[in-house]
């Protein structure tokens, strides 16, 4: 019995037809993702593989332009830098030294214990002689300008753009990952550009993006860079938003919450079994992190990717909605998002629309105010409705905001406050 199968890097990216656009709603990279880099930066870093890949793309800029469906990206810069580049290597902020030059990482709940010259589960942090280092500070492998709705953040400066960046690495390994070719790689296995915090903030400003988004892979693993970039952004009046699985320890989370302005959390299921078998993580610390975010006043939205047969029961939807309402509040937006088969979960069908509608009906009935459906373009559940008068206060088509009926954060029709960060 053979269980072998193949997925090609690039299949995880999307062609210009079919479900690509829908999948982007989960903040997947556009199809040029691994190729995208930064024109104005002198130093970029290629490994041989990506260099060859690049050589096979005759006109990168054209590819970037066509694949982004109108959203700008940045053309590739020339030049190369060695894989071992001290500019990217910064001492980690959360770890503990152990005997015999071992360390224990205290950034995420996994608490990897790591020998000298070894890396943690995320693949982007390395023990060097008993001290622990991030290898991805300012080492950006994807940069795009996206609508903030693509994160998705629906209640945070709607209709604005987010200068979106990622580095390699992730602290979990979801079987459905859309961006596995960067999230499950080490930094030296993807093409990178050097983008220090101030340059990132400047680029966001030059491109009229009111926010920087840390996204696509898992920003927790590039924590130090994210915090430094958020500080540089704030100095220029630019906000920072985080798109994360929320698998982080309390201390680093509390510090992070001082530096950023919104966090969207992918709550991947409401069962430990799923987290263990499909995500390679744990649910409990994620729930604890969410409670902390709310306590600290962080604007938070949730996405729940509905995977057929694995996390789509009525009981799970109900338990999730009840927990959100009683622990985070009814005004926290919850996006039920459609799954498409990829990476290690190619044997399941896309989520039927009826399942998503059932999930929304249950969450609505439990009293959540803002329940959305994602990856379902044109669906009425992409709009924001006033919880009091039920009229549309933000009308959306895909990622575009068509109409807004908000005045100073209130429904223009009935004056009901609409939760969110609007100005």
């Amino acid at each position: 019995m053979s269980k072998t199968a193949h997925t090609r890097k690039g299949e995880a990216s999307f062609s210009s037809d079919g479900p690509r656009r829908e999948q982007e709603a989960n903040d997947a990279l556009p199809c040029d993702s691994v190729l995208a880099s930064l024109s104005s930066l002198g130093a970029s870093e290629h490994d041989r593989r990506t260099f060859l890949k690049l050589a096979g793309v005759p006109c990168l800029t054209a590819c970037v332009g066509s694949c982004m469906a109108g959203w700008p990206s940045l053309a590739l810069g020339a030049g190369s830098a060695p894989a071992e580049d001290s500019r990217f290597i910064v001492e980690a902020q959360f770890y503990e030294k152990l005997p015999y030059k071992k360390i224990r990482c205290k950034l995420c709940p996994r608490e990897c214990v790591i020998d000298d010259r070894e890396r943690g589960y995320c693949g982007v942090r390395e023990n060097r002689g008993g001290s622990y280092y991030t290898l991805v500070h300012s080492r950006v492998c994807a940069a795009h300008i996206d609508p903030i709705e693509k994160k998705p953040l629906f209640h945070f400066f709607p209709g604005s753009l987010a200068f979106s960046v990622a580095t390699a690495g992730c602290n979990v390994n979801c079987k459905f990952c859309q961006n596995w070719d960067i999230s499950q790689s080490r930094p030296e296995q993807v093409r990178n550009a050097y983008l220090p915090p101030k340059d990132l903030a400047n680029l966001a400003q030059q491109n009229r993006c009111p926010a920087i988004a840390y996204t696509y892979s898992e920003p927790i693993v590039f924590y130090e860079y994210m915090r430094d970039a958020a500080e540089a952004g704030h100095a220029l009046g630019i906000k920072s938003v985080v798109v994360s699985g929320g698998f982080i320890q309390q201390d680093p989370l509390k510090k992070l919450c001082r530096d950023v302005d919104a966090i969207k959390v992918d709550l991947k299921a409401f069962s430990e079994k799923y987290y263990k078998e499909v995500v390679n993580g744990e649910l409990k610390p994620v729930l604890e992190a969410l409670v902390t975010m709310r306590k600290l006043g962080m604007w938070t939205e949730l996405v729940y990717l509905v995977v057929p047969t694995l996390n789509d029961s009525d009981a799970e939807f109900r338990a999730l909605a009840q927990w959100v309402k009683s622990n985070l509040g009814a005004e926290v937006p919850l996006h039920f998002s459609r799954f498409y088969p990829q990476y290690l979960l190619k044997n399941l069908p896309p989520t039927p629309l009826e399942t998503l509608e059932r999930a929304k009906a249950i969450a609505d009935a439990e009293g959540l105010h803002y329940v959305y459906l994602g990856n379902t373009p044109g669906n009425a559940a992409e709009n924001t409705y006033c919880p009091k008068c039920r009229r549309i206060v933000i009308e959306r088509i895909g990622f575009a905001v068509k109409e807004m009926h908000l005045r100073k954060g209130k429904c223009e029709y009935c004056q009901q406050p609409i939760a969110g960060v609007w100005q």
Binding site: T4, H6, R8, R49, R117, G120, W180, S185, Q189, N280
Partner: protein, 331 residues
């Protein structure tokens, strides 16, 4: 159901000693070994491997290698045995383990004598490739990187990179090193006999983590079932022909890093075509050394390498961990 066999260690090691006496009498290969359908693990020893000093004697190492390969393949000469490992025209990769630097990596001298014998068997230098994960690891283990096509080559996966196709089996999804998929026709796996703080032990099966792009993802649950699943990926399963575990120096605690206080001179080699049987045998040797030093067993510490049993189960069938099916030959 998974086979979990943990025989009485003492009995198992006693059997090894009996095998040693038998083999020692003839200094060749006892005839009955070839008549049985057991998997064979050669456990080679030479107490004088280092003479009076600390460095290995290349002549004695070569002789030990010859005895081992001849015993494993049941041939009349070492050359005959090497000819069964690879044929002229094939590119042979030697997958070494250089992670821990010179202290506890595959020894350069062992690789040299293997290369010498491959050349005797008709494999030209240009068709021999020494490889590991990283160029830096190779260098720190004492190898010199070389990529000229007309010479013996030596480089890390970072030279050619990884396939873009994701190969999957069971719990793993990985991109394989191009050195394995595109350069090598056959692979000789040259791990080291040592402890591993997360995976329990690291020998033949675990050394093939060096062929994938994301080994950091597969140390959970003491590597079970990930180590077994990685070894099921077709290019690994199909190309690896022989496992020679460097046990000249072994380490029973504190691995995979080099911890000199926990190493000892085993002055030997383990050789098999069955990575499961080799790992099982090596594990027992490490446990015996731990017991002699008054240390707890890996099971008691919660890091028994159960991936070895998984590799033997009906879903994997990569070899056997049943001591009654393992033929121990000491030479």
């Amino acid at each position: 159901m998974r086979q979990r066999l943990e025989p009485n260690r003492r009995e198992f090691l006693k059997k090894c000693a009996a095998g040693a006496m038998l083999a020692g009498g003839t200094h060749g290969l006892p005839a009955f070994f070839s008549a049985r359908e057991k998997t064979r693990v050669v456990n080679a020893h030479d107490p004088l491997l280092r003479g009076a000093g600390s460095s290995l004697d290349s002549g004695r190492l070569l002789k030990m290698l010859d005895r081992s390969v001849q015993a494993l393949y049941a041939t009349d000469s070492p050359l005959e045995a090497w000819k069964k490992v690879a044929r002229p025209g094939e590119v042979v990769g030697l997958k070494v383990n250089g992670l821990a630097g010179r202290g506890i990596s595959t020894s350069v001298l062992l690789v040299e004598v293997v290369c010498a014998r491959l050349q005797d068997a008709g494999i030209p230098q240009k068709d021999i490739v020494i490889w590991d994960r990283l160029n830096a690891d190779l260098e720190s283990a004492g190898f010199r990187n070389a990529t000229r096509q007309d010479h013996m080559r030596c480089f890390g996966n970072d030279t050619l990179g990884y396939e873009e196709d994701l190969a999957t089996y069971g719990s793993v999804g990985s991109c394989l090193a191009k050195t394995l998929t595109q350069v090598c026709d056959a692979v000789i796996n040259l791990p080291v006999l040592k402890d591993h703080g997360i995976a329990g032990v690291t020998m033949a099966l675990k050394n093939l983590f060096g062929a994938i792009h994301n080994p950091n993802k597969y140390h959970l649950n003491v590597g079970d079932p990930y180590v077994a699943d990685v070894n099921m990926l077709p290019p690994i399963r199909q190309k690896v022909r022989l496992h020679i575990c460097d046990a000249t120096t072994a380490q029973y605690e504190g691995g995979p890093s080099y911890m000199p206080q926990w190493t000892w001179r085993y002055n030997g080699l383990l050789m098999s075509r069955d990575p499961v049987a080799l790992d099982y045998t090596g594990w027992q040797i490490l446990e015996q050394e731990r017991a002699e030093k008054g240390m707890k067993s890996l099971r008691a510490l919660g890091r028994a390498p159960d991936y070895i049993a998984t590799a033997a189960d009906p879903n994997h069938r990569l070899g056997t961990n049943d001591p009654s099916q393992i033929e121990q030959v000491e030479v």
